[in-house]
Symmetry: C2
Subunit: 466 residues, 2 copies
């Protein structure tokens, strides 16, 4: 059978080198910094999960979102908010797309942002490049389709032409002292040889970064890991990644890419972009917090997250999804009896993220049929009521019975507990007298005209603003 904990400790030297200590930190790592509990993987020297940069593309990819229409004032607000959050780069729509895009690009470059560098995004075309270098941007991202699909349908050009044009554009931009990144579209359906050839070529010319993009959202994390790792062995420059979320892997793919040696991840606020968007800023932060909380906390101004999300949501007329990472109303809501019990004892049991890091609070929902006496006990203590465990269990039974009819609000729960407590103190009630308690509750409500409402309470967003 299973060895006991003592036996495990004794036999430690004989076994696979796993630290079986129960001293697990809230991010799931042991004292060596390795993921606890699973056979500790040898540190992957390629991994950049503690050293990576955000290329924030709300003002480029985000403009491709269905209802996005940013006037200059809005773009400036968003740019400043992203700068305050601390993103490494802000990417803007190509100045070649329209005269107004160009004007906006120039205006934002003049803002004098404190932290974020400004990039723009162009097609692999000298016309676009000539415009871009005059706008004041710090860097230019050049994208071209290399997959057979795109070559056939989007450009109608073959690889040699693509390579020739790429070199011309790259050398021109570099000559202006501006950062340049070269990337392919639809990288995960591209011919590998094509891809590596062109990346190797542009790396030799001296691009600052190459980028891979899952333009259609079909890539999966293990596939991403393999391609990025392969690429890591071919180029010496930085590697940027761009993942669409059609199949729900945008965040996971970004993580796998960083594990494989990528250096930059494209994001947008709430993930807005073409179709259902790309790696969301908040979601990526959540993922990377678990990988290395100190890195993320020290680098980014996490308390700004909700503000920037609200700003963008308003600008594109959408609601922040109910289940949004970190800031969605239910992100830190714990309900089930088992979970609530453990959470109250030690929040990191069921919470891999700490809401306080983002200026938010936790909410443990206790007035429902799945509640447990431990969650109720916690509330009893918060209310400074003195009840024995047996009495608390008794009161919990009443709360669950009432919750079977409709969810009890926190106010309902408080009332029940106070009435119970007073009745116990005054000797009017003993454990195991539900009918007596029913009567006392009715009397209480009648005397105050505070009958509970008949409709199920809608849970409001309860996490408090910092």
């Amino acid at each position: 059978m299973c060895p006991t904990p003592d036996q495990i400790e004794t036999n430690k030297e004989d076994m696979v080198p796993v630290d079986l200590s129960t001293a697990v930190k809230s991010n799931g790592t042991d004292r060596h910094g390795d993921k606890k509990g699973f056979y500790a993987r040898p540190s992957d020297f390629l991994s950049n999960t503690s050293n990576w940069k955000i290329i924030e593309s709300t003002l480029r990819e985000g403009e491709q979102f269905a209802t996005a229409w940013f006037d200059l004032e809005t773009k400036i607000k968003i740019a400043r908010a992203l700068d305050d959050f601390g993103v490494d780069y802000i990417e803007l729509t190509s100045p070649a797309a329209s005269p107004e895009s160009r004007a906006h690009c120039e205006a934002i470059c003049k803002l004098g942002l404190k932290r974020s560098k400004i990039l723009t995004h162009i097609r692999c075309h000298m016309d676009d490049a000539r415009i871009a270098v005059e706008t004041g941007v710090d860097g230019v991202d050049v994208v071209i389709g290399t997959s057979s699909f795109l070559r056939e349908h989007s450009h109608g050009k073959d690889m040699t032409w693509i390579t020739k044009t790429a070199i011309e554009v790259i050398e021109f931009v570099k000559s202006k002292g501006i950062e340049i990144r070269f990337s392919s579209e639809d990288s995960f359906r591209s011919d590998l040889v094509d891809l590596l050839s062109i990346y190797q070529t542009v790396d030799k010319i001296g691009v600052n970064r190459v980028g891979v993009a899952d333009t259609v959202g079909c890539a999966d994390p293990r596939q991403v890991y393999e391609l990025v790792r392969t690429l890591r062995g071919v180029v010496g420059c930085d590697i940027e990644t761009h993942f669409h979320n059609d199949t729900g892997c945008a965040i996971a793919n970004a993580y796998a890419a960083l594990e494989a040696g990528a250096t930059h991840v494209d994001t947008s606020v709430l993930g807005i972009g073409e179709r259902n968007g790309i790696t969301p800023l908040g979601g990526l932060i959540a993922r990377m917090m678990v990988a290395d909380p100190e890195y993320v906390k020290n680098k980014y101004n996490l308390h700004m997250l909700r503000e920037v999300e609200n700003l963008v949501a308003e600008a594109v007329e959408i609601q922040v999804p109910f289940n949004n990472y970190i800031t969605g109303f239910c992100a830190f809501t714990h309900k089930a009896g088992i979970h609530a019990k453990a959470i109250l004892a030690n929040p990191s049991t069921y919470e891999i993220l700490n809401p306080a890091d983002f200026g938010m609070t936790r909410y443990v929902s206790i007035g429902h049929r799945l509640t447990g006496w431990n969650a109720i006990k916690s509330r009893v203590e918060q209310l400074n009521l003195e009840l024995t465990d047996e009495q608390i269990k008794d009161a919990t039974a009443k709360i669950k019975a009432l919750a079977d009819v409709r969810t009890q609000t926190m106010e309902d729960v408080d009332t029940i507990l106070r009435v119970y407590h007073t009745a116990i103190q005054q000797g009017k009630l003993k454990v195991g007298q539900p009918e007596v308690f029913d009567r006392l509750l009715d009397e209480h409500h009648a005397s105050r005209d505070t009958s509970p409402s008949r409709t199920p309470a809608k849970r409001q967003r309860t996490d408090a603003e910092a």
Copy 2:
């Protein structure tokens, strides 16, 4: 430099075995069924991405969602809808949680669902087991915390006790002819030896399935793949997986698990559940469609997806997120000029999912500043107007200029195109006369009193219902 496509074809035999054919199917695979473009991975015999089952847990995990309060009538509606969709299993809240949970469980078992088997979910406790086996369920899921964290905080019991109790419950449930699954909570922070020991033990006793759960949402796909693959080599029974979405990896983790040999995935509609929930049904379907569209289309009634999501969203008083997989309003919205051009030529260029499979249509947004003349040309053709490419480009310039001020609705675009076309036909306008065209447009609006509105048009959900 890069070889030309012809050279690549010729040298095919010398190279890494990669099919360089441009005949790529819409799911990104070549004629051999391997992922196109990337060095074709040897088929992984462990992978179950074409043979997997859904354990739909809206009525168990979903009940733990912050605002969930399902009365029996609602549960029955949801159960029937899930059955119509074709999920393999429906999981219900423990009948031991409250008298009403028990009554609901029994009622749903009596429904006589056509397709879905019914499971319930209990703690590893004989009291719970005795109740569960009397309800009429087809199977019982037993969960216990094995991680050091949970053992310390949730149960306060050690591994030998856990194992002893597990055996007792399992043998009891099996003796009733009911399916049984045994699973751990917080599997990814559990001691590997503990985990494998207990799973090996229960496998020998004869459980139908073991399950791994990422209870706190901290696992990443490569980690999942490794654990599930390891487990696959230890047990002979089925492997079920349950992933929380706190760090955005619930779908990706499910996929990695299936690649590694897991057989079942827990889902809930819209992912509702504890905190920000678990693998969403729609999102998982999107992911698995790309892996094997025929399997998914033949097995599940995809046209039911939106209906079941709307049903659940209404029941828990939430909005379907704007960016929801497949059914979110922007899931199939294509906007950028480059993308629109390719989409119009061949939808699979930028669309890895086909909306028609789900009873939905695609929407290409064309009245905005990033539009391209190809998208406009498509509309011209739909309107049966005759214009040369040069004329279309001219009209497009006008549309973009107007869109710089505010996004043009489809109606606005149609008006512009019709006025342009008429003017060209009547000889009142030539290419390259924007001021003349401005005047003609003004005259048109004045004569019909149809001045375009001043505020940016909010993009409505435009995908048509089947």
